[in-house]
Symmetry: C2
Subunit: 419 residues, 2 copies
């Protein structure tokens, strides 16, 4: 097994745990900053480390188009390419194909789409999406799914959910056959593992040659996994639209295929937040309690606390980084728009309760000036603060769960300002 | 005296020294990164500190237009506003008025100009430019001068040089009358200094009230000067176009007015580099050897080494920061354009001899990808490297001078790659 999950404490549905991946042991519930094209926008990797980011997310669709997975593979995968030693998760490309690309055509085989960059034509199938993610080399990769649009009728939701289930089986089959091709796997050139039985049954000579070639091409600081015998893990994705019954069926079919972790996809696509919560809550009932559960693409600070309270272990969202670039800061006093003139002479920090390097050093007046002057540093500093706020929020959630104090945990939940 | 200058070693005209300013003791020759509107574009202040930036430059023209000098003054001057504890120098606004603003009208009184931001009309006089710089509160401020255009005939160069000389006298007069109004001066509210004779002769009650008001408005981390009895210093500027005789006359007239340091302005305005060097060399002969000499707005890495070799102590230039944002990196192997496809699979560092955090962590392939993808992080990392290259270059120059090895210094000069 290349990931293992341990639950150390729980309150109601919420749990505090450890997800051990090849490159890092994650404290859960964990928030994963989004690093679309191998960069969490505007933030250097050493700053991400200081902020305590344990795992970041890369978007397969974007990376496939630019710089291309082959270049990343030759640099040792995303870890080597972007010099990030901790954990990485890649999505399957499915969501971006549906939200960003033009002229997509879906059939049983996969999706034909045109690049949003240059209009060129491409195909993603469960197999090619797996191949791309193996080349990118994230610790955790996701099955290729169809993100059902919202709203959709029940017929459509069922058909889409059933195709996602068939694609999940194909994803798993391809992944199991090729997972040891991951750029940082040492299995194919460590002979002893063959005899000890930990290596794949058929370590192919060409894989060994590729490993040697990759080694020489990798930057000196390329990250190495903690355990050289480890490789990637593939998580399944539950779809089913906004129908609780279809969600149950999707969960059961995905669990029947069998994955070391499960994601809930197809939410935060325009539906009301109460509906999101209802679907999350009902879907969780049908997922194994002893495996990690990942809610994709959510949410505000108060929402991530709420979902952690329901028993979600992993979340990602572009909100803290994207909002930062638009001058929106999340603070203990609520969301503030730093561009407003009322901050022009405010010598106080963005968030008086925040201990991040931005709040320790700069005033709202200065951040407002940087934003109004269109300075690049505005994007850098705003993003650092928002990520600190999200990561600290999740840290407090973990602390509350470990104390085992339900009242305290609820206080955490409800002391969050309403966005 | 609020600055003092000490020469510790020299080779020929080149000297290694220490320039003591209220906020920092600078090792000279020193390169000053340009922080146009209170930000060295794309670089957080703590990173600038790690890079070893001893002093940065602010542009009075830009800061006057946005955010406005009054806001900066209330935040404790630029040091408090941008949270920069080391030294700052501001230019007088003269150069930007001539290069950026529209519809300028120059007469003996000063310059009327329209903002390049919104077309609004403004006037800079020697007095108002000093008032602005006192409010901004840099350690070193510059006399208001006219930057003579290139090419210009001798008549024009003489008239311009003479007006700069008259403006220098007016700048000095206003500065001496108001220099204790600097936002971080403690003189006006430290009673003992009145009796000890270090305070200005007439500490006015209103200045004292303003100081108290400023104190309460300043961010907690606002920088304080090392010596509470210190204030700003005003440097004079030599003009005179490309005429050695006019340069001599300008130098003599500026020295006769009397300043604690002298700048050479009006160069790097389009003239050939040999002419720049000739004017610098001949002007230096007429400047006091025991005072700091500042060459404004130059240059490439090889040029800053060359000018330091001639005896220049201070330099500033937008080249490292601006070039970085256009994907041009200065390296020990020469200038490279990171956007070129040949770097797409290069796992080596930008500069194999550089010890900056960018070269220690990232590959050319990664930087090329960030630039091609228009990622903000490209601007951040490219700028950090280029500043490291400039600051390290100057560090090597100082080391060579302190060793007293002429051959070694020349080797430094000529080992610089030709840009």
């Amino acid at each position: 097994m290349s990931v293992s999950f341990h639950i150390d404490a729980s309150i109601g549905g919420a749990r505090k745990g450890r997800l051990v991946t090849p490159h890092a042991e994650l404290q859960t519930p964990v928030f994963m900053p989004v690093g679309t094209v191998a960069s969490v926008k505007a933030v250097p990797q050493d700053t991400l480390e200081e902020l305590g980011a344990q795992i970041i997310l890369g978007n397969t669709y974007h990376l496939y188009l630019r710089p291309g997975v082959e270049i990343v593979r030759r640099m040792g995968g995303l870890h080597g390419f972007m010099s990030w030693p901790r954990a990485i998760l890649t999505d399957s490309g499915g969501f971006q194909v549906f939200s960003l690309s033009q002229l997509r055509k879906v059939n049983e085989e996969g999706v034909t789409f045109r690049s949003h960059l240059d209009g060129s034509s491409h195909v993603f199938t469960p197999e090619s999406a797996m191949a791309a993610q193996i080349a990118l080399g994230a610790d955790i990769v996701m099955a290729f799914d169809e993100c059902t649009e919202y709203p959709a009728d029940r017929e459509r939701m069922r058909a889409s959910m059933e195709m996602t289930a068939r694609w999940a089986a194909r994803s798993k089959k391809y992944f199991e056959e090729h997972q040891w091709d991951v750029p940082w796997s040492h299995v194919s050139d460590l002979e002893f593992q063959v005899s000890s039985g930990t290596a794949p049954r058929n370590p192919r000579p060409e894989a060994r040659n590729r490993t040697a070639e990759r080694r020489s091409a990798q930057p000196p600081g390329a990250a190495v996994p903690r355990n050289p015998e480890s490789t990637q893990s593939l998580f399944g994705i539950v779809q089913g639209g906004m129908d609780r019954e279809l969600r149950r069926e999707s969960a059961e079919r995905t669990v029947a295929i069998g994955f070391p972790g499960y994601a809930i996809g197809g939410l935060s696509v325009g539906e009301p937040r109460e509906l999101t919560r209802e679907i999350v809550e009902s879907t969780l009932e049908h997922l194994p309690k002893d495996q990690p559960r990942y809610l994709m693409g959510v949410g505000t600070p108060e929402e991530i606390v709420e979902y952690a309270g329901l028993g979600i272990d992993m979340m990602d969202c572009v909100l803290p980084t994207r909002a930062a670039r638009h001058g929106l800061l999340f603070t203990s006093e609520g969301k503030i728009s730093i561009k407003q003139a009322r901050h022009a002479q405010d010598s106080g920090p963005p968030d008086p309760k925040c201990r991040c390097r931005v709040c320790q050093r700069y005033s709202r007046a200065y951040l407002r000036h940087l934003y109004a002057s269109n300075e690049v540093l505005a994007q850098v500093l705003n993003t650092i603060h928002n990520l600190a706020f999200y990561l600290d929020t999740m840290q407090r959630v973990r602390h509350s769960i470990s104390l085992g104090e339900k009242t305290r945990f609820l206080a955490e939940v409800w002391s969050q300002p309403k966005a």
